[in-house]
Amino acid sequence: MKLLKILMLSLIGLISAALPAHAVIEIDITKGNVQPLPIALTSFVGSGDEMTSAGSVMEIGKQIARVVTADLERSGLFSAIDPRAFINSGNAATAPQFANWRAVGAQALVTGTAVLEEDGRVRVEFRLWDVLGGSQMTGLRYFTAPQNWRRIAHLISDAVYKRLTGEDGYFDTRIVYISESGPYLDRIKRLAIMDQDGYNHKFLTDGSYMVLNPRFSPTSQEITYLSFYNDIPRVYLFDIETGKSEMLGEFDGMTFAPRFSPDGKKVIMSKAERGNSDIFVLELSTRRLERLTKHSAIDTSPSFSPFGRYVTFNSDRGGSQQIYVMDSDGSDIKRISFGQGIYATPVWSPRGDLIAFTKQTGGKFYIGVMRPDGTGERILTESYFEEGPTWSPNGRVLMYYRKYPYDNQGGGGETQLWSIDLTGYNERQVITPLDGSDPAWSPLMD
């Protein structure tokens, strides 16, 4: 909410459709390896080419179209038609000549404009057209300070994705992660944040102390994470807007593996006492700590279900690391993982229907999902080492990190962020300036 005010970003509303909208195109994203929808995106060039505080408005219009194109293509659900094939450039002021778009194979068309307003803001409009049906599917208008044009592009991507898939998008989001650099015996691990497409990258800590396992608040511009500040591992809270961090409660034992509750009011975490890690939940307003588990085994990596009623966590209480589910008061603990190998880092999907996990068996690591009752286990990806899945806010994409083996020359051991569709398709690297690990996806930013 605060962020919205700062950005002075406003959405005026739906542009009324000129033609009745009968959706004939639709993408079913629940099926694997869906044929990408051919989509044409024209440059968002308006009438003028005035200079703004962030470059010429015509250039902004072109860039917006590029960012939307990249977003949609990266989802794996769309294939953008090369603009060089376009028969006409798509004058946004008039209804498209659908025959010309059908001729280049487009099934959907996005047209738009970016115009400089008298008050210095940029007005961006877009319309999504059903090329085969010859009708407008949606249209929206936004106003923003010129330097925020990227957010407008991601909002447009989300609107197109939602109209064509029926599900919320995940483009107007950010990733917080651990940026890694330096030789493997002396790795520097810094908290870093970027847009989901890798832009607007920023380091949040300076690398003088190690940080791990960051997680976004579902309700505020805050991150909880494990920091080794002063060589004392404890859970911290970082305010993205002010850049300030604070330790979350001063307890005798180490605290780690933090994660917010769905309402953002609590942080669930592990606390170790004399070598024994159990799960606790900390109420942020009172800093009161409540114990949820009491067992001589390791209990860690807790994650709430979307409505906060259950908690899934990792424990070796049965002799090896497995995934458990309990009520959020710590009662009714049940083991849910029974496959071959060991299981760790369970994370509840924002949709509630699945738990993502890291699995280790036969010298390899895997990212997979299972239902909260443990049935329907499905492996999505495997490699020499990978762990720590995080869900896109719509529960359709998982991001995680991979670590590559060392070579005998003292090299290797790189870490990279990767993402994959829940369908098991569309696996791709998420580019970071340095090595990256421990990604955590933000909620949609509005």
Partner: protein, 174 residues
């Protein structure tokens, strides 16, 4: 003392070899004989001598050796995969550490580490178990708990690419 213990063990081993060869030499008849019991006389562990010039044990220098730097056998103990129990070889190293701490007025930090074949969060917990296993042993050997701080680095501070070398507890002067 450590040397004496080792020597005692060595004598027992020689004894065992002799008995075996005696058996094979004397044939069937020997099978019915009651073998001479080997008397083990373990060294008393309760009366450690203060060590003036330690060789087998931790010197102040090695305790001060920087993290991830050249390894000294005296400040490092190793653990089996996903385990945190202090085995026999670790006990002898920690026994020497305890003696040295009792003779020197220093506080220490015990670091718990893991190999890299596991998840970060679990390894933070496992490293804490290992650091505390080391601390508990030192305390059992008579070192005051208040002189020992533990910290787990999980799998984040390997000292090489060998997994077995990374599953360790490292004692350094605070």
């Amino acid at each position: 003392m450590l040397k004496n213990k080792f020597y005692a063990k060595f004598l027992i081993m020689i004894g065992a070899v002799l008995i075996l060869s005696a058996c094979s030499n004397s044939g069937d008849e020997a099978m019915t004989e009651t073998p001479t019991p080997v008397e083990q006389t373990p060294e008393p562990v309760s009366t450690p001598e203060p060590m003036a010039a330690p060789v087998d044990m931790v010197s102040q220098e090695s305790l001060n050796s920087s993290m991830g730097g050249s390894m000294s056998e005296g400040d490092m103990v190793y653990f089996a995969y996903d385990r945190y129990d202090v085995d026999a070889s670790a006990r002898s190293v920690l026994g020497a550490q305890a003696n040295w701490m009792k003779a020197n007025n220093v506080n220490v930090i015990v670091e718990g580490h893991c190999d890299e074949r596991g998840t970060r969060e679990y390894n933070i917990a496992l490293g804490d178990r290992r650091a505390n296993a080391v601390k508990n042993y030192l305390v059992a050997m008579g070192v005051s708990a208040s002189r020992i701080r533990t910290v787990s680095y999980g799998k984040e501070r390997p000292q090489g690419t060998d997994n077995a070398q990374n599953r360790r507890g490292y004692t350094r002067v605070n």
